[in-house]
């Protein structure tokens, strides 16, 4: 077996040095009656060549951006990743390294994380960011938990625009802690209805997604005002990280905590994972931050270097009093995003966001001009929006599929009150002719 180097001769010499006469004898501390008598019932080993064929066959039974035009977003986004990202991230000094607990031999990882932390503070308009969380959904949950810890309150208000999966994850995380969860309604234009009536002195936070699940751009400043009145926290959750390149930063609009998903920054859609949760906050809450933190310092010669710091927040020291139980985070995905953001820079990222907006505005204009379709929500959007279709979301998307298009998300399970509707996302990958064909398909018109 090519992953295990031992020859029979090696084994014999080692047994001799240990002083036992067989490999079996090494397992003597495992009571005999507990030891397996037969091999595990697993399929036999395959050679590399055979296994790649089998895996290729499995992969081929999944649609992907190479088989269809892609207009499905809903929390996981199809963006173009520059070639340099995978080339750099594939270096085994990055992939096969461990958590940087020994800083003298982990400066590559530590410096990259410090750079990521800096970039996230810039994008969110806040002061300190952690070294990633599992994904946007768990980041939203950690944001809510952090708000509860820093206010010592247990009532959490979730906006209607929170991705339904994120809402489910927040519920799961809070379930064991006796928290009270209130759901804020959606207004007629698609944005949250006014939040002030829902915030009281027992409220730890409002969790507001920007843009909302249905694509609408929320009034973050108004939400901040609503929470400020009772000293509650505003937690802004982001699904589509690219929106941070265009929209006013959450921190500049009064958010105390900004968190969410950074998959759009060079991390593959990957059937949902691994993705990249981020969390940022104000300096004064730094000791309540979950997850790892990298800080700058110097070595014995006075040279600048980086280390994991404020570790006493974490499970390996604080144990049951930790801010979170998180240990492993999403290190390599963080590196993808840091490389991506370094390549795009502030100018490239802004231009990319504007392209996404332009594609969506074009698609919306085509929808408005097509009989049988309309845009039921009046609020402005970024790169995602709701299209009402003549028959049903399922029917419209089936038509799209026949034309080689994954047209979006059927909203019937998520927002049936909208009637037959689809959530459509356009990115820089959406070519104009594909948009035209999508619109025709949704309306049930000839291509």
């Amino acid at each position: 077996m090519r992953y295990i180097p031992h020859t029979e001769e090696d084994v014999a010499r080692m047994l001799d040095a240990i002083g036992v006469d067989s490999v079996e004898a090494l397992f003597e501390p495992v009571p005999a009656k507990l030891r397996l008598r037969q091999a595990l019932e697993l399929p036999p080993a395959l050679s590399e060549q055979e296994l790649l064929a089998e895996l290729g066959a499995l992969a081929a039974r999944n649609a992907h951006t190479g088989t269809h035009e892609w207009f499905l977003g809903a929390g996981t986004y199809a963006h173009f990743t520059p070639s340099a990202v995978d080339a750099l991230v594939s270096r085994s000094e990055f992939t096969t390294s461990y958590t940087p607990y020994q800083p003298e031999i982990s400066q590559g990882t530590l410096q990259a994380v410090f750079e990521w932390q800096t970039m996230i503070t810039g994008l969110t308009g806040l002061e300190v960011a952690n070294a990633s969380l599992y994904d946007g959904a768990s980041a939203a949950a950690e944001g809510a938990l952090m708000a509860m810890r820093t206010t010592r309150r247990s009532r959490v208000v979730l906006s209607a625009g929170l991705h339904p999966h994120y809402r489910a994850v927040v519920r799961t995380y809070l379930a064991g802690l006796g928290a009270e969860i209130a759901l804020a309604p959606r207004g007629p234009d698609g944005r949250s209805a006014p939040l002030a009536p829902l915030v009281d002195a027992a409220t730890a936070c409002v969790v507001l997604q920007q843009p909302a699940f249905l694509g609408c751009i929320e009034d973050v400043a108004a939400a901040a005002e609503a929470t400020r009145r009772h000293d509650a926290r505003l937690v802004v959750v982001v699904n589509e990280a690219l929106s941070l390149a265009l929209l006013r930063a959450p921190g500049d609009q009064g958010a105390d905590i900004a968190c969410g998903e950074a998959q759009s920054f060079g991390v593959p859609m990957g059937l949902g994972g691994p993705h990249l949760g981020f969390l940022a906050t104000r300096q004064r809450f730094v000791r309540q931050l979950p997850g790892r933190l990298v800080g700058e310092t110097v070595d014995t010669e006075g040279r600048r270097g980086f280390v994991l710091t404020l570790s006493t927040r974490e499970q390996h020291i604080r144990r049951e009093r930790a801010t979170s139980n998180i240990c492993t985070n999403q290190g390599l995905c963080l590196l993808m995003a840091t490389v991506y953001l370094s390549l795009l820079g502030p100018v490239g990222l802004r231009r990319l966001a504007e392209q996404n907006l332009a594609k969506a505005e074009y698609a919306k204009a085509r929808v408005r001009a097509t009989p049988g379709l309309d845009l039921p929500l009046a609020a402005p959007t970024f790169n995602e929006f709701v299209v009402r279709v003549p028959d049903s979301g399922a029917g419209a998307l089936a038509r799209a599929r026949e034309r080689g298009i994954i047209g979006g998300l059927d909203l019937e399970p998520f927002a049936p009150e909208l009637g037959p509707a689809v959530l459509v996302c356009t990115t820089e990958l959406s070519r104009r002719d594909a948009i035209d064909r999508l619109v025709a398909a949704l309306a049930g018109r000839p291509a």
């Binding site: 295990i4 180097p5 031992h6 090494l26 397992f27 501390p29 495992v30 091999a39 595990l40 019932e41 590399e48 790649l52 895996l55 992907h64 190479g66 892609w70 996981t76 750099l88 000094e93 096969t96 461990y98 003298e104 031999i105 982990s106 400066q107 590559g108 990882t109 990259a112 970039m119 994008l123 599992y134 959904a137 999966h165 994850v169 064991g176 802690l177 265009l246 929209l247 006013r248 859609m269 990957g270 949902g272 691994p274 310092t297 070595d299 014995t300 404020l310 499970q315 009093r321 139980n325 999403q330 290190g331 590196l335 953001l341 820079g345 502030p346 504007e354 332009a358 505005e361 820089e428």
Partner: protein, 502 residues
Amino acid sequence: MSAADRREAVGNATRGLSYEEPLVFERSRRGRTGYSLPALDVPAVDPAACLSAQAIRDGIPGLPELSEIDVVRHFTRLSTWNAAVDLGLYPLGSCTMKYNPKLNERAARLPGFANAHPMQPEALQQGFLELCFELERQLAVVTGMDEVTLQPAAGAQGELAGVMMIRAYHEQRGERRTRVLVPDSAHGTNPASAALNAYQIVAVPSGSDGLLHAEAVARVMSEDVAALMITNPSTLGLFEEEIVAICEIVHARGGLVYGDGANLNALLGIARPGDLGIDVMHLNLHKTFSTPHGGGGPGSGPVGVKSPLAPYLPTPVVRRREGGRFALDRDLPHSIGRLHGSFGNVGMFVRAFAYLRSLGPEGLRRCAEMAVLNANYLLARLRGTYHVPYDRLVMHEFVLSDRNLADTGVTTLDVAKRLIDYGYHPPTVYFPLIVHGALMIEPTESESLEGLDRFADALLAIAAEAREDPDLVRTAPHHTRRSRLDETRAARHPVLRWQPLK
């Protein structure tokens, strides 16, 4: 210029091809670009016209402007500052730093896995669903559990899920249990996960032999205890010989047993946690199943359960329907809910699946056998020089302490740092907490005999250095690009981001 000065900084390299590399922001130059965008094929829009002017930001601070080659050189150079399994041995106890197969990377990058969307129609993700179903089945076989969820994104999240399922189980029975038993040798995530479920932690002391004893458990077990969390083999690398009796004691009072599967590598094909009495356990795909550590993740922490806990599994669950079609079942009224926005770290499922198919049942057993052989061999070479607090046959890892070096003033930390000079990432240090100055060593099955001998030679040489030249060891490492870093300063005056000079 003196010879010494000439040997020093030449350009920004200080030692030939060993580069000092500034922060990416310090390399930034206005107007440099590293991206390419196609021309817009739709009309351009003015964002302030579509959204309102106050909704738009002015610029984005904190991002550098660089050319593609700037970025490539920056991160390539940074990579040369890291230790990595592909460079050398990482004997980190309880981390199982085994070889990360390159086939697995190729598999995960197949477009049908990398460029597919979690919410695309089930009919168009059958290959993915089949892989999940098959991986779950294989992990169930390996662990002796009945059902498996792949959703938790890391071991700690798996623990959270497991403890939540335990809580749901008791609640459904109308029982209000408030405590969880955790051995004093446990990993910190164990009590943290229990606390996140509002359980009170009761520490169970290990015996003087390092093992958990049935009477110690019996003494603290009651109808108020929801569960015992146990790691087997323990964090000392010892098989918990009384585990069956311990599980029976917990079960007799209506409690459940949670197994931390971090050390599963020692048991592959040898014994199964499910047969020992474990009711629910997590696995670490990034340990036992070879997925790469990535400098701090992504990992993956699937959870296996016995049937009584199956109703509480996170939603959705992959089912195989009539005609061999795979489908997602969301109709789980007692599920603990979702822990992850999608299915979990799918890329790691592909890698672990490829690993299991590469090894087959014989290969898996060989992993455990060679991992245990390697650990015992190293122990045989090191005992006598280093103090062994629990000296007997070990499993895949073992613990030393620095007691034999006490009179030299050299500590475990110093030995760890000096090992770096010899080309090794240090073992786990100061864990488990029950051994003072613990040095926990896990070579894994990936290490060859000559590799083990070189490592043992290094540790023996350091022990000799501790006597002959303790100062050399206490001020190590000497050959790294950074010497010991001031962690106190980093904690007292945290600087957690770069900011431009005013």
